[in-house]
Symmetry: C2
Subunit: 337 residues, 2 copies
C-alpha cells in the first residue's frame, strides 16, 4: 500500500488529544509531510500546523486527506461525510486506519466512482500475499520486539531509522501498524492479514536489498501476549532479522488489556525470542534494549538503565531521553559519513 504525501490531517470533531493520536504521531514524525490540519467546529485538540480548508490544502499541494482521529464504535458521523465527499470531489485521496470500511458508505463510494481519487484503507490490507518461503534475503534487517504491546516499538524503530539516515546509511523504515504506515507512506498492517500469510506478508514488506542497506522493521505485540503472540511470531519469522532490539516498559503491572497476565522477565523474553528468531536466521543477535522510562524520574531511570546494561552487557537506553546512538554503534554499518 502506497500513500501519496503531503497530507492534510483531518481531526474531525475529536474531544481530546487521545482521540487524535494518529494525527499526533504524524505531526511528531513527519510534520514536513503535513501541509496542515482540518478541524470541525466542535473539535477540541489542535496541532501546531496551519488550519486549512480542503481547497487551501489542495492549493498547498496536499495529495491525501488522512483521517487522524480514532472513531468510537465504528460509526462515521454525517459531519465527517460532508468533508470526505468534498475531499474526493477535489481529487484528494483518503487514507483511513479505521476498522470501519469507508468503502461500505454509499455516498462515499459514489464519490470515488465519479472522481480520480483513491481510498486507502490501511486496516484492510491489499493482498493477496504469498505463503512465506523462509529463504534468506540480502541486506541487513533489524526488528523491534517487546515484552508487551504498546511499549514503544514504533517509536524505537523510527528513532533507529532516523539515526541511521543521519549517518548516511541506506535504510528503510518498514511499517506494520497503522500510524507507522501513514508516517512511512506505505507498509502492511500485519495484524489484519489472514493468518496463513503473516510471515509471507512480512517477507514481502522487507524484500532483498543491497548489501549495507538496513531495513528497520516495526514490531507488533509480544510473543508473551496471549491475544497476539501469533502475529508477533509470524512477523518475527517473515522479517528474518539479523538484529533485534527489545522494547520494554519497566513499571507496567500486567500485560496490556489482561489484568491477570504478568509480564515476562526481560531475560526470559530475550531467550525465547532469540530461539524463535534463530529458526530463520541462526546468526541473529541482540543490538540492545529500548526502555520506556517516562514513568520514572530521571535519576531513577538512569540507575535502572545502568544496571540493566551491566546485567545484559548490551546498550539499554530510553530513545526519547537518551537517543539510540549507543545501539547504533553496535551495528556493522557499511557506510558512515
Amino acid at each position: 500500500m502506497n500513500i501519496t504525501k503531503p497530507y492534510l490531517l483531518f481531526l474531525g470533531d475529536a474531544d481530546d488529544t487521545l482521540a487524535v493520536k494518529t494525527a499526533t504521531g504524524l505531526y511528531q514524525w513527519c510534520a514536513p509531510d503535513c501541509v496542515g490540519q482540518l478541524r470541525l467546529p466542535s473539535c477540541v485538540p489542535i496541532l501546531d500546523l496551519p488550519e486549512l480548508t480542503l481547497e487551501q490544502a489542495r492549493d498547498h499541494g496536499a495529495k491525501t486527506l488522512v483521517i487522524g482521529v480514532v472513531n468510537r464504535g465504528g460509526i462515521i458521523p454525517d459531519s465527517w461525510l460532508e468533508v470526505l465527499n468534498q475531499a474526493v470531489a477535489l481529487e484528494l485521496d483518503i487514507a483511513s486506519g479505521l476498522h470501519t470500511h469507508l468503502s461500505n458508505i454509499p455516498s462515499l463510494r459514489d464519490s470515488f466512482a465519479r472522481n480520480n481519487a483513491q481510498l486507502l484503507e490501511i486496516r484492510h490490507p491489499q493482498g493477496p500475499f504469498p505463503v512465506a518461503t523462509g529463504q534468506r534475503r540480502s541486506g541487513q534487517r533489524l526488528l523491534t520486539v517487546g515484552t508487551d504491546c504498546s511499549v514503544g516499538k514504533m517509536y524505537a524503530s523510527l528513532a533507529l531509522h532516523r539515526a541511521l539516515l543521519k549517518q548516511g546509511v541506506a535504510t528503510d523504515f518498514r511499517a506494520t501498524g497503522q500510524t507507522g504506515i501513514l508516517i512511512a507512506g506505505g507498509g502492511v498492517a500485519i495484524d489484519a492479514v489472514v493468518a496463513d500469510f503473516i510471515s509471507g506478508a512480512a517477507e514481502t514488506l522487507s524484500p532483498s536489498s543491497a548489501e549495507g542497506h538496513w531495513d528497520i522493521i516495526e514490531g507488533q505485540g509480544s510473543l508473551f501476549h496471549p491475544s497476539y503472540a501469533g502475529v508477533s511470531l509470524g512477523l518475527l519469522h517473515g522479517s528474518q532479522p539479523d538484529w533485534l532490539v527489545l522494547c520494554h516498559e519497566p513499571l507496567r503491572q500486567h500485560m496490556r488489556g489482561l489484568p491477570k497476565q504478568s509480564l515476562p522477565t526481560i531475560t526470559t523474553c530475550m531467550t525465547m525470542t532469540l530461539q524463535a528468531a534463530q529458526l530463520v536466521n541462526p546468526g541473529v543477535q541482540w543490538a540492545g534494549c529500548a526502555i520506556n522510562t517516562q514513568a520514572m524520574d530521571p535519576p531513577q531511570a538512569k540507575t535502572y538503565l545502568g544496571e540493566l546494561s551491566d546485567e545484559l552487557q548490551l546498550p539499554c537506553v530510553d530513545p526519547l531521553r537518551d537517543g539510540v546512538s549507543s545501539i547504533i554503534r553496535r551495528l556493522p554499518l557499511a557506510s558512515i559519513q
Copy 2:
C-alpha cells in the same frame, strides 16, 4: 460454522485419488454420515458408497452436497456448475473447502438467492471473532501439535476422540482444518482467520465445558515451520491445552514445502512447545507422541517407538498401527464405563 449432515459427496471429474482427498477423509471418518457419492462421467476415483443422483440423494435424506474434490488453479468448470445449481434448486446446502469463492459465481449466487439453501465456505470463516482474553476455561483440553505440517495431527485427534467416546467420556472433536470441519460438521479454518483474531477464534472454538468433558483440538502447522508458525502459536495459546500430543514423521527429510529447512528434534520441539503453552496454562503436560511410521516396516517401527518411549518416558504409538489406548491411559478421565 455448522454444516448439516448427512452428506452427498461430490467427486467432480477428478482423475486420481489424491484429487478427492477431502471425500476420502470423510469416507474414512464419517461414512455413516454420507448417503452416497456423485461422480461426473469422466471421474476416475470411486468410493465404496452408493452412486446417487441429486434427487436420489435428497430422497435418502441428504442435507448437504460436499465438494470432496480439490480443484486446480481455482477454476470451477461449467460441468460442476450444472450440478451445483441443481443441488441448490433441490434445497441442498453446499459445503466447500475450496479457496475459490463460490459466492462470486453469478449463476450460483442467483440460485442461492432463489432457494432455501446455504452456501458454507469453510475457507472463508464467518466472523467476527473476538480478541483472545487468555482467561481459563473449565473442562479438559488436549491439543495435537507437530514437528511439521501434515504429520497426522487430524488423524491422531480423531483417533483420540473416538477412543474417548468408546470409553463413555464426554468429548468433542474441535476441527481447525477443512477436512476436519466437514467430518465434525463444524469448526473454524484457523489459518483463514485474520491474524489479530487467531487465538480469539481458538477460544471461541473450545468454550468452557463441564468438568470431566474433553475437547480434542486438531492442531495445525508447527511452531518450527517458518511459513505457518504464527498460526500454530495463536492456536496453542487460544486452545489453552491441559495436555499435548506430539505428532511426528520420523523419516521426513525437511520441513514440508521447504527443502532447505530441517526438522526440529523431538525434544527441542517438545521443550519449546511446552514453554509457549505454559504462558496460558502452567499445568500443561505431554500425554504422548503419535508417530506416523507408514514408511517403516513393522519391526523397524516397533523398535523406533520402543526406544522413543524409553527416552521420553511417554507413550509413543502409531495411531494407525497401534491405536491410542496407551496415551488415553495417561489422561485423568472422570468417567470410564
